[in-house]
Symmetry: C2
Subunit: 754 residues, 2 copies
């Protein structure tokens, strides 16, 4: 792992602490920067693969919500749209590649303030000719459909023939699965390239357009060109002889529209083709630089609402928080309440674009506290998904809303894949149990609804969507509980809790407490609505409208809320993670705690063997005492943190940030800082392999929470705002914006003072 | 185009004129050798992509007859099976590639006598460490399912860490179309890797197995290894520290079985899995060298039946003919009469594995004259396809057997794609008319049946299959003819003849003459069978058995045979190619006749424009006077050759060899030789781009005919063998085996004498 490849201090002046850069190109590590330098706008996400091609590249372009299923034995996933980023450059007939010739002054920079990616270097080819290259690229934050590239090639004291091939390439797949039927290909006016393709199962038509502008110095060049139309592929090949010290300016301006787009609703394919073509013509006339500037303004508006200023002894802290926020901005489909956030955002094929509890528990607080309209849209996505949640409940023999562990289309129901990597003992694929028995997500969503409500005071949202989710999820839990005759209490058996190393456990503490919380909230709001909000109550109580029958459910809910078994803290304040965890054997975990890459234990133990050890993947009881902190005193927090953290390998990116918050809570600021730094390094660190299949969306939400809820001690407790800062000594002050019940606060925390 | 990259004189002693080699590796030209060095056995065909990966490689593995259709808007094609050729080699952590470091003593050789591909070179990496590499590979000619690779890496005066990743990769596609549903993946005994996948539409399950043997010097090495199981992919990573001057021997032995295999008929997937696993275990115990030797014996048997000895001033001639025969042997599915020969054999995705008239008119004579059992199997394929031919006739409003222009599954009917490359004028895809109106293939198949019969005397085949094809195709033609009231004759309007530059022509000479021939033969055999073979006649005359009703058809057939319009030779002996060809404008074709790559005219004229010029893609009237030579005297042959050849751009690989034969016939031996050489250069020449999508199967058949039917003057004329040699002066003698009515002849032609 080459530490020097990522540089955190590239920006100067107005871009100080806004720029992350790569200082050396290494084909081995290219996937890292493809993901962490990903560009997007919530509608469109494009991995930052280089224009020229290398083996092992992942050229992914995703459009939020356009899920498709390749075959009946696969789960639905975000399809990899046709690639429009690739540009093949031939210098005197040889394909340009950084793996050939001599490269100097290499730098690739992601400017998070403007959303622009730049790459420049000097390249001397085998014949000794030297060229300065500059590549620029952005995905528009203003026009969701638009993205563009500008290439500048300056010939340093030599003449050369420059040949450029560029177009639209629909031969790309999702690791071999092709989601598209090939559609019409066409070149208009010898210049505008259009290609259609349609998803095989969900029948979404994608309309791709691209166009080029080629200038040599200031003059528009009319080079020799020829069309190339292959299978799933169309492009133009330009050929131009360029003189010494001239510069070739090559712009590629592209757009994508789909029949699923909210702004295209009701339009025919023909109309979308025409609109997209009209727009690409307009964009071409505007040109790269002006298009970029419009997008920058939109970026500035966004940063104005969210930017956190960290004064610390290491600028990296400032950069890392912006980096987390940058990614949350580009991955979130704020334009469309039928889409969720993928576990890898739009930055890779990992987790197939599916939404997990990552959204509600990790990412949502950032939006709820700073951009509540976006938080609302994300919760509406869950509301829209109730039908799928009912389907899942029914399939499992339950009632109410049982949210899928992984979600895609709102009507899909469960979409978790069933099979994972090789079992090191049997040589067979490992079964993934989450889709079957990891059930706490249903409470997590209810919790996020309530949290949103408490922080924003958005009564309208609750009336329209929120209460219904609270009741519907509570009804699920009531139906889920299992009566234990002997103990005279309700159990939840055979689940996976947040700690996914422990499969098939009974009475997972997190699961049971959150289920109880969920039912309790329903009982409370039943009373509140009935007494104070009869319009909404009557509607929700009417099975014909909501499918609910509150009056009929309430007694059972109340009874079960009281009789559900909860793992109580023992005399040392330790909450057993489940019925058996504390009785499992202990092994020396030093090797795994010191691992350089996650997953080391899985190379020594298969799931069955691991299941017999007191070892955790991530925060579980620790998560519980964070979310429901009003139920637990500080001593309990402390005991559980001290017991479970040493047993936790942080093999999930959902772990470190939460532990950092708890370390702040239990007055271990040094440890909190260390865990925070480690959390930021999941994607931004020097380990060049962690982000290959995409960035870690939940971790970015966790990083924001570690700063705001951890260091700054911001917490909504039982509907009230509490700020109890615990700045580590490395941080002098943090200034941050916060919206509380609609009021914009600008808060500065210095030396643990407000 | 680098002339020196292909070497024709690599073999010595027993391998003299048996070896073609590549003397330099250039990533730009890799597709050429992938195709021309293709390995196969008629069941299995594997492009010779290198073990290590490069951009632009086409890693294709095909199993004859396993057609699948990706979507309703695509045509069925041979799916690209999972890749088992790739082997990633890391030296001290760096991925080995010939594009890095220094390569010397490079040579890659295809030994056509043994079917083995070898590659060796010395490689010095960036750190200055030197290694000798030797790669060997074969596809078994003995066990159709088996193929194997052996890699030897010798460390020259250095120690190194050698890491090898190898397995089964199902992420490959046909230019982006994925034909397989991912199936079970499994590693048995920490060693045997098995992966299943199933075609999406035709539901054929492929069972892939692979296993490795790793030795360092003579000792079996137990290196560190780990399983890697990804999406559509499974493999093992081996890691071994190797000392100076030691050699790593790495064998990879693989097999493929499918549920469509003739030798697996009636077996369950479970049974096939078990058999294939049992066989891979056995193969592993036998090892690369012994497995190869068994295959070699089978090769020798084949060569004994077909080898032609050419004594000439240039050994290339000998090599080129063997090269043509080598490819015809590896591409032909002799094991299965439900499969045809693809236009690119099994060497590439071009033409999607479909069969054209290339088989019957170009390739079949080779088999008919030397291995008639194979010719018979190929004709049975056409017999088995009658149902599809009836479907096509019905869809087009005709009766009888209308053979598809392109064929795949026997029941598919027409599978020609509808859209081709970009129209240079409109920017739209060009429509491919062949599937709609290129109809002469129906006569071509009937002709091949008759030719087979005349050469072999195989009466049994005729009784069982041949006569039925003759009648059924004649009935099609009778239904196809259009009555011209004014002229009182039958026409065939709106067709494409063999010359595909001329679309939508009326009364194409080749089409009409061959249709007439076909009906005439039916009329003749009606009489012959009725009088001499009543058992067969009664059966064929019974509509319940054959679907034919000969007694009812015969009068119409006779009438139409007499009244079909044929383009008669004019006073100069010139046969008009169609109703309008001779009245089209003439342009200066010099530029196109001198083209270095085919297709130059299509860059200047779109199909509509080209259609107005007297310019031909390939032999049409020239083909007619070759096939039906008994109808035309020498003067007519001569006139037409002299008129049409200068107008023919040989833009089809079906053109040169036929013109060479005709040049021999009309006593232009120099020109015949020149055209023969050009024909051999289509694949074997120094143009490094011609074979990218696969070799030219028909051309190989044409090369054999140019030698045997052209230079040696062998011809079946009206059922009699005629040998009228016309050796060009560059060739001293040709010795060749020939089967005539079951008698094996060994013929030597010297200085135009037998």
């Amino acid at each position: 792992m080459n530490q020097s490849i990522i540089n955190y201090n590239s920006g100067k002046d107005e871009y100080k602490n806004w720029i992350v850069s790569e200082t050396e190109f290494n084909v081995k590590y290219q996937k890292k920067c493809e993901a962490i330098f990903c560009l997007g706008n919530g509608y469109l996400g494009i991995r930052s693969a280089t224009e020229e091609s290398y083996l092992g590249q992942l050229r992914d372009t995703f459009i939020s919500g356009t899920f498709n299923k390749f075959g009946d034995n696969e789960v639905t996933e975000l399809p990899n749209a046709a690639d429009m980023i690739a540009i093949d450059i031939y210098v005197d007939g040889e394909l340009f590649s950084l793996e050939k010739g001599i490269v100097s002054n290499y730098e690739r920079t992601l400017n998070m303030k403007t959303g622009e990616l730049k790459r420049y270097f000097t390249w001397t080819n085998k014949s000794g000719k030297t060229f300065n290259f500059l590549f620029k690229r952005f995905v528009s934050f203003h026009n969701l459909h638009l993205f563009a590239t500008k290439v500048e090639i300056t010939l340093v004291g030599c003449d050369a023939n420059i040949e450029i091939y560029s177009g639209i390439n629909g031969q790309v797949t999702n690791s071999g699965s092709q989601h598209f039927l090939e559609g019409e290909k066409r070149i208009f006016d010898n210049r505008y390239i259009q290609m259609l393709q349609k998803t095989t199962e969900s029948n979404i038509t994608f309309v791709h357009n691209t166009v080029h502008n080629l200038k040599v110095d200031e003059k528009e060049d009319i080079p020799t060109y020829r069309f190339e139309m292959d299978r799933r592929k169309v492009g133009i090949n330009y050929n131009s002889s360029v003189l010494s010290n001239q510069t070739v300016y090559f712009e590629k301006i592209s757009n994508i529209y789909t029949t699923r787009d909210k702004d295209m609703e009701g339009m025919s394919i023909k109309e979308i083709k025409d609109i997209s073509l009209k727009n690409i013509k307009h964009s071409r006339s505007v040109g790269y630089d002006a298009l970029k500037n419009v997008g920058c303004k939109e970026w500035q508006k966004n940063w104005d609402s969210i930017d956190i200023k960290i004064d610390s002894d290491d600028d990296y802290n400032q950069l890392a928080v912006r980096f987390a926020q940058y990614h949350m901005l580009i991955m979130t489909p704020k334009h469309d309440n039928r889409c969720g956030i993928g576990a890898k955002g739009l930055s890779g094929e990992g987790y197939k674009g599916h939404s997990f509890w990552d959204t509600e528990i990790f990412i949502l607080p950032f939006f709820t506290y700073t951009m509540p309209e976006i938080a609302k849209s994300l919760l509406e996505y869950r509301y829209n998904m109730l039908e799928g949640a009912h389907i899942k409940a029914k399939e499992n023999g339950y009632r109410g809303a049982m949210y899928p562990w992984e979600s895609a289309w709102i009507k899909d129901g469960e979409v978790t894949p069933v099979w994972g990597g090789a079992d090191i003992v049997t040589g067979e694929s490992t079964k993934i149990w989450s889709g079957f028995i990891e059930q706490h997500i249903t409470s997590d969503i209810a919790f996020a609804v309530w949290q949103y409500y408490q922080i924003t005071g958005d009564e309208e949202f609750m009336n329209e969507y929120g209460y219904e989710i609270l009741f519907d999820t509570a009804i699920f839990w009531a139906s889920r509980l299992e009566w234990d005759k002997d103990k005279n209490e309700y159990h939840i058996n055979d689940v996976v809790g947040p700690d996914e190393f422990q499969e098939h456990v009974n009475n997972d503490a997190f699961t049971n407490y959150m289920a109880q919380w969920c039912m309790e909230k329903a009982v409370d709001y039943y009373k509140i609505l009935k007494e104070n909000n009869s319009r909404v109550f009557v509607r929700l109580n009417n099975p014909e409208y909501s499918g609910l029958n509150l009056d009929k459910e309430i007694d059972v809910l109340r009874d079960k809320t009281n009789k559900i078994y909860l793992q109580l803290p023992n005399k040392d304040g330790l909450i057993p993670q489940d019925d058996t965890y504390l009785s499992k054997k202990n092994i020396d975990l030093t090797k795994y705690k010191n691992q350089k890459n996650v997953g080391l234990i899985s190379k020594d133990y298969n799931p069955k063997q691991r299941n017999k050890i007191q070892v955790s993947k991530q925060a579980s009881v620790v998560m519980l005492v964070y979310l429901l902190e009003y139920k637990f005193n500080n001593k309990i927090k402390q005991s559980n943190f001290d017991y479970y953290e040493p047993k936790t390998l942080h093999d999930s990116s959902l772990s470190l940030a939460i532990h950092s918050i708890l370390a702040s809570d239990v007055d271990k600021p040094d440890f909190a800082y260390k865990l925070f730094r480690k959390a930021t390094e999941i994607d931004l660190g020097t380990n060049m392999k962690t982000s290959d299949p995409g960035i870690h969306a939940a971790s970015f939400g966790g990083i924001w929470q570690a700063v705001i809820c951890g260091f700054c001690g911001v917490r909504m407790v039982q509907g009230k705002l509490r700020i109890n800062p615990k700045l580590p000594e490395q941080i002098n002050s943090i200034t941050f914006p916060l919206l509380w019940k609609g009021n914009k606060l600008e808060i500065k925390v210095t030396n643990n003072k407000l």
